[in-house]
């Protein structure tokens, strides 16, 4: 077997990009097949239960649903290449026009929840690790354990009842775009973001804790302590970057569960995001919208994980191969 020559950084990025594109193509086919396998059809929904089979068949033909699936997939995929997600069967509007205004809501929700989860989980996990032989560190571990067991929709409903209905601190539901002012926008997002990030914080804190415990046993951490850095200083200065490798991987993987959670939280708080659009489209068997939204979510997850992969070389110098370097 010829020796594997390690690729240079640009080549590796290019290779990773290739993997990403291939995954998107495969994902589009899977999304299409799953959507097509949904029982029921849109023509029936449009015409109602009393419609004659002939009328339903005629409408199906009009929508192009009578063609074999490879043909339908081909037409849809050709559209994707031009950033055209097709038209809704129900409204006749381009799917993209329905998706774009809702993208902002979901992006804010998921992005802020991830940031909040990191802000909570990194200190909490590090604390739990450093103080693991003391009561407070044990408490931090227990807290993240409990957080794992709480479903986000239940937390959302509870938070809504207490902080919106009882105390009236925040609106119970709805959404105001950022363009309408920061205050109202933020007030509408507080409860959904907190509810969504709670579980994520708990999961992440457990990874941060074990990554930190690992660093505490590393020789370079001992070297840093022997050089005069105090426990937490040594961890932040020499541990954080080493830990970030495993934490970043988990964050990438968590994004998928976060998107799934967002769909539910959007329903609980009546946020006009992609999740609501998707649930409505599924109920109405508007497959073109379903396919469009799901594909978008899949691409987002794949893109984030591709970025995670590419960030490794940035975080860990051992993965870089500089030009002209001889070992």
């Amino acid at each position: 077997m010829p020796p594997r020559v390690p690729l240079s950084v640009p080549l590796r990025l290019l290779q990773r990009l290739g993997v990403f594109v291939a995954s998107v193509v495969v994902a589009s086919l899977l999304v299409f097949l799953v959507a097509s396998a949904l029982p029921g059809n849109v023509a029936q929904v449009v015409l109602g239960v009393q419609a004659t089979p002939e009328a339903v068949a005629r409408l199906e033909q009009e929508f192009g649903l009578d063609r074999p699936w490879p043909v339908r997939y081909g037409a849809w995929f050709a559209g994707l290449l031009r950033f055209d997600l097709g038209r809704s069967y129900l409204t006749g509007q381009p799917v993209l026009d329905q998706v774009l205004p809702r993208l902002g809501v979901t992006s804010w929700l998921v992005g802020l929840a991830m940031v909040l989860a990191l802000l909570v989980a990194v200190p909490l996990g590090m604390w739990a690790a450093v103080r693991r032989r003391h009561a407070d560190g044990f408490l931090a571990s227990a807290l993240s354990q409990v957080g794992l067991a709480v479903p986000s929709f239940w937390l959302g409903i509870l938070a809504s009842l207490v902080f919106a209905v009882q105390l009236g601190w925040f609106p119970a539901n709805g959404y105001v775009p950022l363009s309408a002012g920061f205050g109202p926008w933020a007030r509408h997002l507080v409860l959904p973001v907190v509810a969504l990030s709670a579980v994520q914080s708990a999961v992440l804190a457990r990874y941060v804790r074990s990554a930190t415990v690992e660093v505490l046993h590393e020789d370079y951490y001992r070297t840093a302590r022997a050089g005069g850095w105090r426990t937490v200083q040594a961890l932040l200065r020499h541990g954080l970057r080493n830990m970030s490798l495993s934490v970043v991987t988990v964050v990438g993987l968590q994004l998928a569960t976060l998107l799934a959670g967002a769909i539910i939280i959007e329903s609980v708080f009546a946020l006009p995001g992609l999740g609501r659009l998707l649930l409505d489209a599924v109920a109405q068997r508007d497959l073109m919208v379903v396919q469009g939204v799901v594909l978008l979510l899949v691409v987002a997850v794949l893109a984030i994980n591709a970025l995670v992969d590419m960030s490794y070389a940035l975080l860990d110098p051992r993965l870089r191969i500089e030009r002209g370097q001889v070992r």
């Binding site: 032989r133 020789d219 370079y220 070297t223 050089g227 080493n242």
Partner: protein
């Protein structure tokens, strides 16, 4: 003169139920004194070293006393810090500054994500040392002092780009950059090949001589010790069993265990075809080990376990 380090009746135990691994050892190190600590794996050498700088894990229970002299910029202040009761902040101020440590395993002892020049340089700022000409020039000077080639390139390298011997010399540069009064060397040459070993020993010896700095040099290799230290202690199963000037200990070992160590290190006496000597030829492990109460502060006189005849087990 106040000793730099004064250890009395130091006992360390781990685990539950408590298992004692150091059974009350006592010794002291004066400024500029070079002390060797010999013993096999598990004899308690590294535990002693880590205890001195308060670097043992939280699970260790330490009793007895460890006192470090607290110098300021100009020299000794007469103040002492009791390590066993000191705060992390007090200890951190001494570690890497007046007291430093070099470890056994150079391959994993450097942060893999940071350039080595920065790892050396940050210790200057940490202890508040202002360097005329900037810390970069001091880092390069230090790397030159440990005989590294092309210091500019090395300073800008990550640890994985350097060899084991180079990494150990970077770690030595880190330990010596703030001009410590005492450096603990915990088997600094064990993981290195013979050429790299010689280089490291030469660098350390030169530094201690130039700065008249003290060292506690830990090893299981007698040949290494003879060239570096003035006096030595022999450790066995958590006891100090013999101590004195290194030449005398090597030329005329008293304790059966030391006799065994010396015999096994003199391979030139072995004849081809003959079985090599082992420590067990001289020393019966079934006899419980008894330790010295105290190593004399002066180190001038040899100390041995009382009631034990000089020869035979």
């Amino acid at each position: 003169m106040t000793p730099l380090l004064q250890v009395s009746d130091l006992r360390v135990s781990f685990g539950r139920p408590r298992r004692e691994v150091l059974h009350g050892i006592s010794f002291s190190i004066a400024p500029g004194q070079r002390v060797g600590l010999i013993g096999e794996s598990g004899s308690g050498k590294s535990v002693t070293a880590l205890a001195v700088l308060g670097l043992l894990s939280e699970t260790a229970a330490v009793t007895g006393s460890i006192r470090l002299a607290v110098p300021d910029g100009d020299g000794p202040t007469g103040r002492q810090l009791e390590v066993t009761t000191a705060t992390e902040k007090q200890l951190a101020a001494l570690r890497g500054d007046a007291y430093s440590m070099i470890f056994q395993e150079p391959m994993t002892a450097l942060d893999p994500t940071m350039k080595v020049g920065r790892q050396v340089g940050e210790l200057l700022g940490l202890h508040g040392h202002r360097i005329p000409g900037g810390s970069r020039s001091r880092v390069l000077e230090m790397l030159r002092e440990v005989d590294l080639p092309e210091v500019g390139r090395i300073a800008d390298s990550y640890p994985h780009q350097l060899s084991g011997g180079q990494r150990q010399r970077v770690l030595i540069a880190m330990a010596l950059v703030n001009d410590p009064v005492l450096t603990i060397c915990d088997e600094p040459t064990t993981a290195l090949d013979v050429t790299a070993q010689a280089k490291v020993l030469q660098v350390l010896d030169r530094h201690f001589t130039q700065r008249s700095a003290a060292t506690l040099f830990i090893t299981h290799d007698l040949a290494v010790l003879a060239g570096v230290v003035d006096v030595a202690m022999v450790m066995l199963e958590g006891h100090v069993v013999e101590a004195g000037p290194i030449r005398e200990v090597l030329a005329d070992p008293w304790h059966p265990y030391t006799k065994g160590l010396v015999a096994t290190s003199r391979l030139e006496l072995a004849r081809p075809g003959e079985r090599l000597p082992t420590v067990a030829d001289h020393f019966d492990r079934s006899i419980p080990v008894q330790g010295l109460r105290e190593v004399p502060v002066s180190w001038e006189h040899r100390a041995r376990v009382p009631g034990r005849p000089g020869g035979g087990a």
